[in-house]
């Protein structure tokens, strides 16, 4: 019996004494990772991609999702398809390009040709196969068991019996609406993917992505930069709240002094920026009324969708997902999301803003990478120093954005999944 099998929880919780601790074994144990794969990544809805990435019929991308190689394509009729990227014949990956446009997909090994929806069209030596071979569904590329979308965000699940995406997301949908409503004609992924990695457990990035507590210390140099850049700050203080959205989802919603391209003006954006932002704000006002317009324009959101999707609507909007390759290694993919109808001015400043803070070349993310890798190094002591503390703000009626409620929401749900007794 391994150590993990002897455990039935990774958490130590005492509400009255305001204790909430997480076993550091959860970050280092290969048996925990195996359980996460079986109980979380094989069971939960996972983000595949945004519809705007496949603008035209025949557009496709290939990417790893939940350990599977997925081919995501728009077929000739314009419908999105999510297929397991493996030949039904002998298993080779059918599509070997990361993205492109195709009329069909051909497995180069024996030359089988599939339509954009994965249907077998032809194979060399057809006369040697059964007459009805092409009519059999097993001759086609396999679709992922479940594929659903919300506001052009596409998700897949490997558990056929999973609840609908809509039910899974629940109140998360309201926040996705607030984020997507900043665009009148829909949101789009901007060209360019940030693909990076960290030598750290994947759950450290979950915590970090919704951690309002670390900004002042970890990101001291970023805040220095904002202060020294003339007019980079609005007269707005950090202030806001955290919410547990159920099923491990959580959100921070808060005000912050940085500029938002929809729509919080900062002096360095000048008169042109002021005109542009007031035009955008007026549009929101007309469409949604003052309360919602203010919420869309001036509040930031760090939205976490269990188990591994982060949509941060901050000085730009980023979509970020990440997977463990080992207990101490994760791969991350991140994109920039923006209103389709955005002007050149706004797009340029959005991306300039994005890179200031976000991504592996920004003024902030490299320090997050360092922090997470240092945690993983510290966990070498986990046999003796066994527990992480995430009790900040316990018992508060209105937890602040810099409390740790959202992490407790994640870990409680994670714990339920990982230690669930198999049915």
């Amino acid at each position: 019996m391994n150590a993990f099998q002897r455990m039935n929880t990774a958490l130590m919780i005492d509400e009255t004494r305001k204790i909430f601790k997480v076993s550091r074994q959860a970050f280092v144990d290969p048996d925990i990772l195996a359980a996460e794969r079986a109980q979380i990544f094989d069971k939960c809805w996972l983000y595949l991609g945004h519809g705007s990435e496949l603008a035209k019929p025949g557009d496709f991308v290939t990417r790893m999702v939940g350990g599977r190689s997925i081919l995501f394509a728009r077929d000739a009729k314009g419908a999105l398809k999510a297929m397991l990227n493996t030949c039904p014949h002998r298993g080779a990956q059918v599509c070997r390009e990361k993205h492109g446009n195709a009329k069909s997909f051909q497995c180069f090994y024996h030359g089988w040709v599939f339509g954009l929806d994965g249907t077998l069209r032809s194979q060399p030596g057809e006369s040697s196969y059964a007459e009805d071979f092409k009519e059999r569904s097993t001759s086609n590329m396999q679709q992922v068991p479940r594929f659903e979308s919300y506001r052009d965000l596409n998700f897949i699940c490997f558990d056929k019996g999973v609840e609908s995406l809509s039910d899974y997301l629940g109140p998360v949908k309201d926040y996705l609406d607030v984020i997507c409503d900043q665009a009148e004609t829909g949101m789009t992924i901007v060209g360019g993917t940030q693909e990076y990695s960290m030598r750290a457990n994947w759950k450290l990035l979950t915590e970090n992505s919704i951690d309002g507590y670390h900004a002042l210390t970890t990101h001291a140099t970023y805040l220095d930069y904002l202060k020294s850049a003339t007019g980079a700050l609005a007269q707005v203080a950090f202030e806001g709240s955290a919410r547990d959205l159920g099923k491990g989802h959580a959100v921070l919603e808060y005000k912050a002094p940085w500029g938002r391209p929809v729509a919080q003006w900062i002096p360095s954006w000048g008169e042109e920026g002021k005109r542009e932002l007031s035009r955008l704000y007026d549009g929101l006002l007309k469409r949604f009324g003052k309360e919602r317009a203010d919420r869309i324009a001036t509040f930031n959101r760090n939205l976490f969708i269990f188990p591994n999707l982060v949509i941060n609507d901050i000085m730009a909007v980023t979509v970020r997902t990440y997977y463990p390759a080992a207990p101490d290694f994760m791969n991350i993919s991140a994109w920039a999301l923006a209103p389709k109808e955005e002007t050149e001015w706004a797009r340029k400043y959005r991306l300039f803003n994005f890179l200031e803070f976000l991504g592996p070349g920004g003024f902030a993310t490299p320090d997050d990478v360092e922090a997470l890798e240092q945690c993983q190094r510290g966990f070498r002591n986990s046999a003796e120093a066994q527990w992480n503390d995430i009790s900040k703000g316990m018992g508060k009626e209105n937890p602040s954005y810099d409390d740790e409620l959202q992490m407790r929401a994640f870990w409680s749900n994670w714990n339920e999944h990982v230690f669930r007794v198999p049915a």
Binding site: E195, R199, F329, G359, G361
Partner: protein
Amino acid sequence: MQAIARTEVEDFLFAEAELLDEWRLPEWLELFTDDAIYYVPATDLAVDASPDNNLFYVADDRFRLSERVKRLMKRTAHAEFPHSRTRHLVSNVRIRKQIGDDLEVSSAFITYRTKDGVTDTYFGSNRYRLVPGNGTFRIKEKRCLLDSEGLRAQGRVSIIL
């Protein structure tokens, strides 16, 4: 104007690499013109992509580049404190063309970064726009095109490439 020999460009690029490896970043910054840009595009983009409508890793104007240098020299730039050790190797230097007085130069690079027992390798090509003057050059544009697929396993470009 007298023709500029490749060896002059090489000497300049080798000196630039030395400044980076010795963490003399404020001096390195002085190599750049006041309107300079420093770019590291995402690796799934065309070589001439613009940061105005594409997501890069780094797209600094001169001001942000100076802030990058300022940041990297601080103890609170946690990713690079203590400083990693680096070695920038520059090779395959070619003068591509002359645009007015400026030179378009390309080079191949391999940069090693080592810290905490982990060594990462960055490799690719650099595209420069150099402005000759006073027997040396200033950099008007430096675009680092990584050959790797993304930044796995390097995880970050916390150093200057």
